[in-house]
Amino acid sequence: MNMVRRRVFGALAFGVLSASFAFSPVAEAQQPQGGILSDVLKRGVLRIATIGGNPPYSSLGTDGKPVGYDIDVANMLAEQLKLKAEFIVVDVPGRITALQTRRADVTFANFTANVERSKVIAFTDPYVVVGSIYMVKKDSPIQSVEQLNDPKYKIGFARGGTAEGISATTAPRAQKVRFDTVGDAYLAMQSGQVDSHLQDSLQNASYVAKDGDKYRNLAGNWSYEEISIGLPAGDFDWWRVLNIFVKNFNASGDNARLFKKHFGYDLPPIQQKY
């Protein structure tokens, strides 16, 4: 009995010890404002928040590590800063939380810059510009978004993203089915659980390129979204470094090359004509 008890207590002590490592109050990470750049350089590690299940932006490789366009862009940034890249997989709303709580230094995750989010975090200039498109199965009876706007049809999308607002304005009467990831919403359309998937236009183009015989799009592009690097608010130096990276990345042809590699077609113009 004594042996058992000693072992139980040993295990308990070990558990407590490991749990205490798990907590690190933000006070430690939250240095005086403007310190992310020096923090990151001192640490030698760039902590990158990304989402899983969102190909070709980011998904899971066979070794369990994230792969995709966003991942390659983030790796390029880490390389130029001579830092080791460390990826943190979060969910869709977690992209904002990770920055607000300073758990991540940057977010690369098909991340749309908008005013609402800018109240709490910051964005760089865009590295791609996307829209939103309703995709249906090829044999679907739905021919237009007006027709889709009917309580008998279901629209699937990932919660916490921009699709929430877009579907509310473009098809207010249709049923909305919210999923945890973009991948879930896509698979739900594929298996017929929802009638339409409201998705990113570039992602859509890559789906169509791959499975064009199974799906088709409903006419209309319902948003203009600048996909940018997210960063914690209030750090000018860090924003300055990231923005220069984005400008050079766009101008140098690196972006065109990486985009083509992952999406299978040429990078559309980033500068929109108004």
């Binding site: 009995m1 058992v4 008890r5 295990a11 308990l12 070990f14 558990g15 407590v16 490991s18 749990a19 798990a22 907590f23 690190s24 109050p25 933000v26 430690e28 990470a29 939250q30 989402i51 899983g52 299940g53 969102n54 190909p55 998904s59 899971l60 490789g61 066979t62 070794d63 369990g64 943190i88 997989v89 979060v90 969910d91 709303p93 977690g94 939380t97 607000q100 709580t101 300073r102 758990r103 945890d180 990831t181 991948g183 879930d184 896509y186 698979l187 594929q190 298996s191 791959k210």
Partner: protein
């Protein structure tokens, strides 16, 4: 074009290891908290007893999914705590497990009859001595089988950590499924893995139960 499900065997196994680890950790921490709450439950003071009942009932009543959400998003924002998905999942699982464990501990201690306490006191033992030499050795035997049940239940609850992005067995499966586009087979593999793990634990538990059975 997409890799096959089999190519991800390493991700499946890593996921299983992570699931085993976090639920084990939560069981230990939950056991520790459970002992404290369970002891409060049988305390002489009414206030402590009520506090323990409230703790147990609250964490038994809130779905683990809601607790994960509260720990990860709620605490991150409210306390400005830098909680990783791992830490948030550990806290949430510990809360659930400790509520279950406090009941196990209480039942274990109460299984020792009043007569034994009186006998121990009358032979000149102090309160802490009675606990150490008379009550605990018997209570632990009673507590062991239901503790195995709590471990299995915690292991199953840990699947919910997937919703806050913690990459354990379920999340690994969901990510593989999104990458390959194959739902049925991947989910079936995950289900079989959970079954094998939990069923093995319950078999080990049953054999431990036989071994520890108190001989009257």
């Amino acid at each position: 074009m997409s890799p096959t499900v089999g190519a991800f065997w390493y991700v499946f196994l890593t996921g299983a290891a992570v699931t085993l680890w976090i639920s084990w950790l939560a069981l230990l921490l939950g056991g520790l908290v459970g002992v404290i709450v369970g002891m409060m439950r049988i305390s002489k003071w009414v206030a402590l007893r009520w506090l323990a009942v409230a703790y147990t009932e609250v964490f038994r009543s809130i779905p683990p999914l809601v607790l994960f959400f509260g720990c990860f998003y709620g605490l991150s924002y409210a306390l400005q705590l830098d909680l990783s998905p791992f830490a948030a999942a550990t806290v949430a699982l510990t809360a659930t497990a400790s509520a279950l464990m406090s009941e196990v501990v209480r039942a274990g201690i109460e299984s020792v009859t009043h007569g034994q306490w009186q006998a121990a006191y009358s032979s000149g033992m102090r309160y802490d001595q009675v606990f150490r030499y008379v009550v605990w050795p018997q209570a632990i035997r009673v507590m062991l089988p239901p503790s195995i049940g709590v471990y299995i239940s915690t292991l199953k609850d840990s699947s919910l950590a997937s919703i806050i992005g913690y990459v354990e067995l379920t999340k690994s499966g969901l990510l593989i499924r999104e990458t390959t586009g194959i739902s049925f087979e991947v989910l079936l593999i995950i289900a079989v893995m959970y079954f094998v793990i939990n069923y093995s634990i319950s078999l080990v538990g049953a054999s431990l139960e036989r071994k520890f059975k108190y001989v009257h």
